[in-house]
């Protein structure tokens, strides 16, 4: 590994994962593995049309199917007040359509049958008469006065505008632009993509008709938040709801929202009095659940002639689909996009975001995007490259000249973020060193002379992850703070309960390491319980890279409470004042007499024994904590991508990818590197392959893995990683979130690399995904809209 990793710390390090024992044996328990006695199977009938009025729904033939137990329609849900549900953006979304369908794949009816094949058969027996309506697919036409109104169900709604939102200082930005030597502007699209976890979304709902208790096994990244939402939607007492999130086959933000299928499954169990399982298929997942991005951006950057960046402007048209169901803190409708000034020391910035409804699936904030930091980083990193080209400067030199300097931290950005810590030039220098940057540039020149087109692309990103603080970050009014409970058993082993939910991040291992680190234990002696709302304290879940920054901090704080209590017990054990004890070598020992002390294991037994304890100490060591983060954590990194581009075919191959990440203190470096690897592959997919496009009738063109192309082992290079460690000053163990860093940081490096390769052809910009066809069109001088069907 490159760069300083800091001194070894007890409990931390690349320990093997506890989770793996079950997964390598095929013994994980995913939602579709859950079986309940008498369980039925649900399936959803979906709209084939993007926009249509529902004339009639005839379910008679389906109900007559011998294996069908129930057929549920929007009209039936409406009678129970369940036809619409709130979204995470305080809009409403149809559970089952009553009046109209508003995107292709929208939920129309739900069948419950005795087996999964019969449920599918019965869908074919439902007759729906639709009256097709004109649709609006292209976000850039959604605000035309003549455009069809998507949300005429909303009182008084006469257009497709969802919101206008801005951040930064428009006047100050105008002023710096007015005195700039150089202004560069560019339109760019971050196209609609989809997280596509390998496990699709699903649920088993079991409503006990006797006790009224509802248990759901659900693909959720936020079990506690979902419990509260189910209570609010269905009107059930929250104490009667238990949400179990078992093993989750990848989430990436796809499993943060509530989907109509969940509500249908719960209703299906209530109606039949039996457990009901619903698991969507791949097309349903791609066509109806939370997509990502779809940001149509216009960027402008202002600089001096010698390459000092002065200001940045962004104007964004955000396509939110048919329902505003984006998942982000409610006071931030455009997510954290206003972190768009990135890693640079500039004087003023302003961004303006307009969101629109279209006849496309709802979503927008998903896919490891850190609440739109992805789009923000892409914008600023493309603008930096365009500026470098305009100035005739090397893009690395331009970045180095404008990066924030270590002494500027904590740094307040022009849009109001306070970055906690960073040493940016060191990270970029390290990445350039690993890459052999000057040699790469020489090789590029030599190849160009031979008619070979090699590109070198750089991106430098700063992320803001780990929401809250709860004072200004909430989801539907639920403040973004997380609890942790830590029970220490008499024999000294411990059970940690946390609210966040692993989808592969390895919480059972790293959270045990946090407790072990704080209490001088072995991680093997700490069991992590998660994914069951009956067994764990409240918290907002795992997304936005918030598990380590928030729940991890809660675990550390709970462990420190245990340690403080252990000190008092140890004092009683050793017959000294607690004030005379110091925590050293993972145990409490008498100051000046290190031979006299007690480890947590011994103290735990004493705490449960008949030992006389000082007044006010009741015994046991158990503790709980709620962690309300004072700020986000701000991980950062420098990425360099080397591509080879064949201008004749448009084929791009990623030859090398160098990623230097700084996520503060690394609890388990092996897991951190794994997180980075995965995000880099996502970047290859987004930059080169993945797009959810539509034709003019609103037909989804990315509705299967035959059409929505994900990177495989042969598109990905062997990643070259490096690290620097700049601890977060406000996090209890100095850690920052890292789960989305590579997904955020890698696409602009790849795109910059391809466009660097194509510079001799005069190609200034081309939108993702840079498929062979799109690259070829760009080389021909006619770049295409990548999110619409090729006319």
């Amino acid at each position: 590994m490159n760069g300083p990793g800091g001194p070894p710390q007890h409990g931390f390090g690349p320990v093997r994962r506890k989770e793996d024992a079950r997964f390598i044996r095929g013994k994980g328990t995913f939602v579709d593995d859950v079986q309940r006695p008498g369980m039925l199977h649900g399936a959803i009938l979906r709209s084939p049309l993007a926009h249509a009025r529902i004339v009639s729904v005839d379910t008679a033939a389906a109900e007559a199917h011998p294996k069908v137990e129930a057929v549920i329609t929007g009209r039936m849900l409406a009678e129970a007040g369940l036809a619409w549900m709130p979204t995470l953006s305080q809009d409403s979304q149809a559970v089952l359509a009553t009046d109209k369908v508003r995107f292709q794949g929208q939920e129309v009816a739900f069948v419950v049958a005795r087996d999964r094949y019969s449920a599918r058969d019965a869908l074919e027996l439902i007759q729906v008469e639709y009256e097709p309506l004109p649709c609006v697919i292209d976000a850039e036409r959604a605000l035309d006065p003549a455009a069809p109104v998507v949300r005429d169900d909303l009182p008084g709604k006469t257009g497709n505008r969802v919101f206008d939102w801005e951040a930064g200082d428009a006047a100050a930005t105008d002023a710096v632009f007015a005195r700039a030597d150089v202004v560069v502007s560019q339109d760019m699209l971050y196209p609609r993509s989809h997280p596509a976890p390998l496990e699709t979304c699903g649920m088993v709902a079991d409503c006990d008709p006797v006790t009224g208790r509802l248990t759901v096994w659900s693909t959720t990244q936020a079990p506690h938040a979902h419990r509260t939402l189910f209570a609010l939607i269905a009107g059930l007492p929250e104490n009667k709801i238990r949400v179990v999130s078992p093993d989750i086959g990848g989430g990436f933000g796809n499993k943060a929202p509530i989907y109509p299928g969940y509500i249908c499954t719960i209703v299906g169990s209530m109606r039949t009095g039996r457990p009901v399982k619903w698991v969507e298929d791949r097309s349903e997942n791609l066509m109806s659940t939370a997509f990502a991005r779809d940001y149509h951006m216009h960027g402008e950057i202002a600089a001096t002639a010698d390459g000092r960046v002065l200001g940045l402007r962004a104007r964004v048209l955000a396509d939110h689909g048919a329902f505003n169901a984006t998942a982000q803190p409610s006071k931030y409708p455009a997510g954290f996009f206003h972190i768009f000034t990135g890693s640079y020391d500039l004087q003023a910035a302003h961004c303006q975001v307009t969101a629109v409804y279209t006849n496309k699936a709802p979503g927008g904030v998903a896919y490891s995007c850190s609440f739109r930091v992805t789009e923000a980083v892409y914008l600023v990193e493309r603008m930096m490259d365009l500026l470098a080209r305009e100035l005739g400067m090397d893009p690395a030199e331009l970045r180095m000249k404008n990066l924030l300097r270590p002494e500027q931290f904590p740094y307040t950005t022009p849009a109001g973020w306070q970055y906690d810590s960073g040493d940016y030039p060191r990270a970029l220098a390290l990445a350039m060193d690993i890459a052999g940057y000057p040699e790469l540039r020489r090789e590029q020149a030599a190849r160009r002379a031979r008619g070979e087109y090699m590109g070198i692309g750089i991106s430098f990103f700063t992320e803001g992850v780990g929401a809250g603080p709860r004072s200004h970050m909430d989801m539907l009014g639920l403040g973004m703070a997380d609890g942790a409970t830590l029970r220490v058993h008499p024999t000294g082993s411990a059970v940690l309960g946390v609210s966040c939910q692993t989808q592969g991040q390895g919480h059972e291992t790293t959270f045990a390491q946090i407790v072990a680190h704080e209490l001088g234990m072995s991680p093997d002696d700490v069991e992590v319980v998660h994914g069951d709302t009956d067994l764990t304290p409240f918290g907002l879940g795992t997304y936005g890279s918030r598990s380590t920054p928030v729940s991890g901090a809660a675990a550390a704080v709970a462990a420190r409470k245990v340690r403080d209590r252990a000190r008092i017990v140890a004092g009683a054990m050793l017959e000294v004042s607690p004030d005379d004890l110091e925590w050293a070598d993972g145990r409490w020992q008498v100051r000046g007499d290190p031979g006299k002390g007690a480890a947590i294991t011994e103290i735990a037994m004493a705490a449960h024994s008949s030992l006389e304890l000082p007044p006010g100490v009741e015994g046991h060591l158990d503790a709980e904590a709620v962690y309300n983060p004072p700020n986000l954590t701000f991980p950062f990194g420098a990425y360099i991508c080397v591509t080879d581009v064949d201008p004749g075919t448009g084929q791009v191959s990623v030859r090398r990818f160098i990623a230097v990440d700084d996520c503060g203190v690394r609890i388990n470096p092996m897991i951190v590197e794994g997180q980075v690897h995965g995000g880099l592959a996502d970047g290859v997919g987004m930059a080169l392959m993945q797009v959810i496009a539509f034709d003019t009738d609103g037909n989804c063109l990315g509705g299967s893995f035959m059409d929505y192309l994900l990177p495989t082992s042969v598109e990905c290079p062997s990643w070259e990683l490096g690290q620097t460690v700049t601890p977060s000053p406000h996090h209890p163990i100095g850690a920052k979130g890292v789960g989305e860093s590579a997904t955020v940081g890698s696409p602009p490096a790849i795109v910059n690399s391809v466009l660097d390769a194509l510079a001799p052809f005069g190609v200034r910009h081309a939108d993702m995904p840079l498929t062979p066809a799109n690259v070829w069109c760009a080389v021909q001088g006619r770049p295409v809209r990548t999110d619409l069907a090729i006319p």
Binding site: Y117, P197, D247, G678, G679, A681, D682
Partner: protein
């Protein structure tokens, strides 16, 4: 219709609908939930099992096509009570995160090593290129298979005895 399939060495006879996919036969009829379903279109490979000696995507194999044949799943990967070196390798090298693609990846890896005991990273990438992993970026899967190649075929013996596998 009645089918008889030898699953992980156990003879299994069941009445099934002719249209029943092999993945659903294994998961829903036999309770072997280690193999996963991910896409319907043979693209993701979460459902890879062996049909006789060949890895197949069991989401696009009808159960009757397995009638009279042998099927091997992740539950049948350990031999003589020992974890397969491929299983050990994935745990040693952080070759999995969410674990959903892992059984299919391991079945293909075992097939590769049986035919090429010392594959290069490029050969490993080629072998698994019909399967998707959304978590690892593939690098550690390649390392895991390399680890298994170095430590196979008998296995390092660190995995302990495995319980018997029921059909």
């Amino acid at each position: 219709m009645q089918v008889t399939v030898v699953v992980n060495g156990v003879v299994v006879t069941r009445d099934v609908e002719p249209r029943l996919l092999l993945i659903h036969f294994l998961r829903d009829e036999l309770g072997l939930t280690g193999s996963h379903w991910g896409c319907d279109t043979s693209n993701c490979g979460a459902c890879v099992v062996w049909l006789d000696e060949t890895p197949v995507k069991s989401c696009t194999v009808l159960t009757p096509m397995a009638d009279g044949h042998r099927v091997r799943t992740v539950e049948g990967l350990p031999a003589d009570g020992q974890l397969d070196p491929v299983q050990e390798g994935f745990a040693q090298c952080h070759g999995l995160q969410c674990g959903f693609c892992t059984p299919g990846m391991m079945m293909t890896a075992r097939w590769l090593l049986d035919h090429n005991p010392d594959p290069s990273p490029a050969e490993i990438r080629e072998a698994i290129s019909g399967q998707l992993c959304r978590c690892t970026g593939y690098e550690n899967i390649v390392r895991s298979v390399r680890w298994a190649a170095k430590h196979g075929p008998a296995g390092p013996g660190a995995g302990g005895q495995e319980p018997g596998v029921a059909g």
